[in-house]
């Protein structure tokens, strides 16, 4: 960038008050421009992270569904199997179906805890461009 003030760098000869002011102005201007670029980069990184976490959202949802349904199915099948063995149709099936549901909720709660940890580790507590941690 051709700059008319280029040959008047500080340190070469004593600066006049006007030159010093111009130099200060240029420094602060450069600082502002750098801040702007930094802010843009941060916003870009935030948006990227946000998009990635959204993509993960679907995977997390599927995971929760699988945790819950899996336990209910297993409970139901255990009940049917025991009924068939002991001949208490349909009581054990009903009991284990409900127990399976309880186990499913337990699974979901545990998966949620793990998920929170994973997300916190990945994003450092920032869940999106608008939600910022106060302590930063």
């Amino acid at each position: 960038m051709p700059d008319p003030a280029d040959d008047r760098r500080p340190g070469k000869r004593p600066m006049s008050a006007k030159d010093a002011a111009a130099f200060e102005h240029r420094v602060s201007d450069l600082g502002e421009r750098l801040d702007k670029v930094k802010a843009q980069r941060q916003a870009g990184a935030d948006a990227e992270l946000d998009a990635e976490m959204r993509g993960r959202g679907m995977a997390y949802g599927m995971r929760m569904a699988a945790e819950l349904v899996g336990a209910v199915i297993v409970g139901g099948f255990i009940g049917i199997g025991l009924d068939w063995l002991i001949g208490t149709k349909p009581w054990l099936f009903l009991l284990f179906f409900v127990l399976g549901f309880a186990a499913g909720v337990l699974n979901v709660m545990r998966a949620y805890e793990r998920m929170q940890k994973e997300i916190a580790a990945r994003t450092g507590g920032r869940l999106g461009p608008t939600v910022r941690d106060d302590e930063d």
Partner: protein, 247 residues
Amino acid sequence: MPDPIHQFEIHPLIPLKLFGWDVSFTNSSAFMLLTVVLVASFFMVAMRGRSLVPGRLQSMAEVSHEFVASMLRESTGQAGMKYFPLVFTLFIFIFVCNMLGMIPGFFTVTSHIVVTAALAGLVFLTVLTIGFAKHGWRFLKLFVPEGVPILILPLVVLIEIISFLSRPVSHSVRLFANMLAGHITLKVFGGFVVMLLGAGTFAALSPLPLLMAVALTALEVLVAFLQAYVFTMLTCMYLNDALHPGH
């Protein structure tokens, strides 16, 4: 409209019978074999140099090794590193299968629950074996959480057992369902493009589902990696239960 399920059909390439069982070499087997050959030859070529300053291929191999190793070390500690070969093989196999499935016209091995259930069952049995071998009957403490009143303990233990038994189910269903759903969605949107092109003036709308298909392809690549990662992550966690059942 093209059938979105057609891509999952299994057909024998070399029909085989063993003791009356149908053990034909199918397109699914072919893609599993392709995956294994690709992975094995990649690592053999990549690690041939074994230089101190890695080249491009060697870096890729080392990064993937380090990725899985740190995942395993974080969740199981140093004690789990003995099972690194199993965990690494699972990750690479699933990842490459998923990625091969993203190539149009290729078969996705992991979109069949038979395959994912076999992998999850392998992990489940490994966990049981390690748990009982290392801790004997104390491994069963996994089902008895501490600090529960004796009155409701039997109920809690039953629930814990069901929860434990449901692991291989959700472990396998998750991977299979993600791959199946993703590939069907892609095919359906691709089908929309073709249908709209043949619908006279409505053909002007056909770029819309095409854009959607492009966006979905990017998402599917992410899912392909993520599901391999999640499967491996859970394997590490289950291994941790087998190694340290107290926690």
